[in-house]
Symmetry: C2
Subunit: 601 residues, 2 copies
């Protein structure tokens, strides 16, 4: 039978006991990790959030406790009253922080019993993730999950302590707000009081944080839930958490240096790492040229080389016509891969084609010169230039893509990472932070036949490019910056537009009529007329950041109750059917027949 | 024209300058509170979040700045480069923290201009609240609003610092979750990926925080947004913020004492107050008996007295039959109100009738004895007892309600507060914290003809009342506690049920069939079988707490972007109409015709 605590108070956490505690009376409460009966004694490894300790039951210390202990099973919840003793010589366990002591139990209460869990409560289990999510309360008992959540807690604590010191106020913005034009798909919430109207859950507090700057709040931050109803890829969740900041009277460098210090503080408090400052900075253009990506992983080399100039006049038509029509011919040196088989190279070509590369040309560098189906199209001078550009040595494999800049960057950028993984070039435990700056303000959307904002339409153009906003929008650079960690974007922000006239030009550049601009963002334009300070900010994806720092492979491991790729919670069954009466109150009907019960099928 | 910052960096906040800064070069950035031209000089009060400072422009210091300053208007945004000087003798302003210095400007940049705001940017304005909400970015510039948000920030910072020290982890729970049986009305979110299914926004993270205890997280907290789609009264918002906590292996006293220390920390860091510990505790029954309320305001007396025993045998039928039929006859002494007119007493009777009291009997205590239409029904001994019970003196007015206990408590409890306000008995700047404990577990719902949980169905019965759960549910006491501040409930919690068998009994007591229990809370019942520790917690209404500490009258003043009573945001226009395409993707239709544009009418 289960017992109540009987007035017992826990005195220590299990994992905290050390030889210094020898002789003390302790009361521990926790879960049975394992029970072993041995030599007339019963040994129980008792576990709580802090770790494990070995509790020893003997008929001599307490016959009653010994008898009860015989009935305990894994995951039973116990209250143990006992005395800390040194372990007998030769039985110490140096792998366990509490391995030099035992607790001799003289009072045992079984606080709750447990069925046999569907998987082991231990690290590194090989279990279907859906089973873990279904029994998340058991999954979260595993030490690696507990440590990750603890690390997440330390991360947000570090952020809050730092920003508080820097004069930021944490200010809450609404969750029930307006639909976001120009954003991703919104989650909508029907209003009962306003029939036919809907709230949207925020994709980010962008407009509100800018409004707070208009309101003179000076320095705002919030660790805030955001929502995007997108098709879920491996590393997306319907709801995610953002470290969101905005500052008045600042320029790019101010935001960057303040943020860098924050990141150092996070790393130091979450994982005891102290990255060197300042972080390197690359312009968008340089990042694309060298890495084929605006979020390059700089933990390894394999940089791209440009041979468009050589290609322009070469005899290989695919190269020369790409170069002549505004495209790029770029290559990458797969160091030491000269021995790759035909099949290996075919596989790489197939990989590149995922990114729409129509082909992958290659040179194998041998002692006898370049071997390649296309070598014949190049003169010795041209070959020499190419080898020099790609820093080629005997035994290397050079791979080339000739295509539009977008495709050439994407295919080679991805190939670069692919090769690094295949060649095992990525060092463990390296945290390479990097700023990417000077993004283009606008991006031409072929489908919509108009420019769209590369970040969002509130990003400020660089002062010196202001004149181009009407004449040559594609060449306007933004006062934007992204923080990249090991090839993953963990933060991004910009200095914002703070003047109505420029904001209106921006809306015009992305194809809004003045009426549309007022319709969609009227209150923002109006606010800008009442004394808006220059301001800028940044937002970090907390889930991704914690995932990277914790060395996990998916953000689902750093979110306590994540959803599956079909946006469902396997533990609670959300989303579920609802009572038709509820829908009626909300003035909506579903086009799907409702099941009879609230149970997830 | 507006200018950019030209590389200037702010060196000081306006409100921070003191005589110690005299002689320093400073760069300030802020808003024009007021401009005055006087004696060939221009004076500008420059304002930022920290306060005001007086900037002086003279043709001698900078002819260019002086000329520009002539064009600035209220709420223009300026960057001022200048030098701190002492104010000329006799011009100091001791009311202003910066009142002993001036800043002589030698470089002025106009960062942005401003239209004339629709109301003054100053404290204590008398403006329609809807106008303030429409221009919230201007309303929030007012110092009292900025100070309130700063205080709110300090409150949550104090909570986080304290709980972190006490071993709590802040853990995020989902916003897209399941509908809450037995709760208030949910906000629903249609799922695109799961046609016909809906998420609900959480009314509280109750189930998740208990699941976190099952998961061995030991001590959880979260400052978290919650949602209730209720008809909005003065002090309700569709979304509100909760300080939410849960602890394993604790009993009532553990939660109370930990929480008390937290409240002291909040008070001390938010408003510099140090309440004495421990807070007084009252049982639910005592609170009802003495104050007619389970959230009594103890800043004043006017306690209720019970005269049911006297009433039972008196000749006044209304009294005797109420007392005989399980009702109560209770009175309150309106001290010194013996001179109240017939109309005054009629008004009080009308007031009591709001709470369903069918009448209000009274005694006026005079030197000649009791004056009352019902005095004749009482013998001298009875009168004496009543006067003693109510501690009556000459000049007092005694008011009585004879009714069911519910009505008698409610009417006299409300009357008590009403009289205290009318008689000006409530002292300012007093913060009376109070615990109310030992609530009934269940409350009989006449409408639904069943018991419902008084707090929620996860609240644990007291051990000694467990046996009554089936035999006499109405008399089971809960291990629940509410924290009351000045007559308002600011927090509430309980020790929870942690055993499946007891939880099932509880569900049965509130009328669930076993199938319904599994249907609604199956995953919780299942979790209880895998080793659930004893646990309990509490949740605080952050908005209310901050409102009380800041001395504001409505929670709208402590929420940056609150909604109106029709659940609308007057600034952004949320909720708004949405594109029919969006609804189609969500598999829903609205029963209301959609307007053509997204503009709020």
């Amino acid at each position: 039978m289960s017992e109540n605590m009987g007035g017992l108070k826990r005195t220590h956490m299990c994992g905290a006991l050390r030889p210094e505690n020898v002789g003390q009376r302790v009361v521990l409460m926790g879960w049975v990790q394992k029970r072993r009966d041995h030599g007339g004694l019963i040994f129980v490894d008792l576990r709580d959030r802090s770790g494990l300790v070995q509790v020893v039951f003997s008929p001599d210390s307490s016959a009653e406790s010994f008898a009860k202990a015989g009935g305990v099973r894994n995951e039973y919840v116990l209250a143990v009253e006992g005395k800390v003793v040194p372990r007998p010589e030769g039985t110490e366990n140096s792998a366990l922080p509490t391995g030099r002591i035992d607790v001799i139990c003289y009072g045992l209460r079984i606080l709750n019993r447990a069925k046999t869990p569907p998987f082991y409560i231990e690290d590194g289990i090989d279990v279907d993730e859906n089973l873990r999510l279904r029994y998340r309360y058991l999954d979260l008992r595993r030490p690696e999950m507990q440590l990750t959540l603890e690390m997440r807690h330390r991360t947000v604590k570090a952020v809050r302590d730092y920003l508080d010191q820097k004069g930021f106020l944490e200010i809450e913005t609404p969750m029930l707000t307006s639909s976001t034009p120009e954003g991703a798909r919104d989650y909508l919430v029907p209003s009962r009081v306003n029939p036919g109207r809907f709230y949207a859950l925020p994709q980010s507090p962008q407009l509100f944080k800018q409004i707070l700057m208009v309101a003179g709040m000076d320095r705002y931050f919030q660790i805030v839930r955001c929502f995007r109803d997108e098709d879920l890829r491996a590393d997306r969740q319907p709801e995610f958490t953002q470290i969101d900041m905005e500052l008045s009277f600042v320029d790019v460098d101010d935001v960057i240096s303040l943020t860098e210090e924050m990141v150092v503080r996070i790393c130091s408090e979450a994982i005891g790492l102290k990255p060197e400052l300042p972080f390197p900075r690359l312009s968008y253009q340089e990042a694309m040229d060298r890495y084929g990506s605006d979020k390059p992983d700089t933990r390894f080399g394999l940089e791209l080389a440009d041979i468009s100039d050589v290609a322009l006049n070469c005899g290989f038509k695919v190269f020369s016509s790409a170069a002549a029509s505004g495209g790029l011919v770029k290559g990458i040196n797969a160091k030491g891969c000269g021995g790759f088989s035909r099949k290996d190279i075919d596989d790489l070509t197939a990989f590149a084609s995922i990114y729409k590369a129509k082909g992958l040309a290659y040179f194998i560098v041998t002692a006898e010169g370049v071997k390649s189906p296309i070598a014949k199209f190049f003169g010795p001078q041209e070959i020499d230039t190419i080898l020099t550009r790609l820093d080629a040595r005997e035994g290397d494999l050079l791979l080339f893509v000739a295509d539009s800049p977008g495709v050439a960057y994407a295919a080679l950028g991805a190939l670069r990472v692919h090769l690094a993984e295949r060649l095992n070039l990525i060092p463990e435990n390296l945290f390479n932070f990097l700023w990417v700056t000077d993004f283009p303000l606008l991006d031409y959307d072929q489908e919509e036949q108009r420019f769209v904002a590369m970040h969002h339409p509130f990003t400020s153009p660089r002062e010196e490019d202001l004149g181009l906003l009407e004449s040559d929008p594609g060449n306007v650079r933004a006062r934007a910056y992204d923080l990249v960690l090991n090839g993953i974007e963990v933060g991004g922000g910009s200095i914002r537009i703070h003047r109505r006239d420029i904001q209106e030009k921006m809306f015009k550049a992305i194809g809004f009529t003045p009426e549309e601009a007022v319709d969609k963002f009227g209150y923002m334009l109006e606010a800008f007329e009442y004394g808006t300070p220059p301001h800028g900010g940044i937002a970090f994806g907390l889930d991704r950041l914690v995932m990277l720092l914790a060395g996990r492979k998916t953000i689902r491991d750093v979110i306590p109750f994540p959803k599956t790729q079909s946006a469902a919670c396997l533990m609670t069954g959300a989303p579920g059917p609802v009572d038709p009466v509820q829908l009626k109150e909300l003035h909506i009907r579903t086009e799907v027949k409702q099941p009879r019960t609230a149970k997830q099928g």
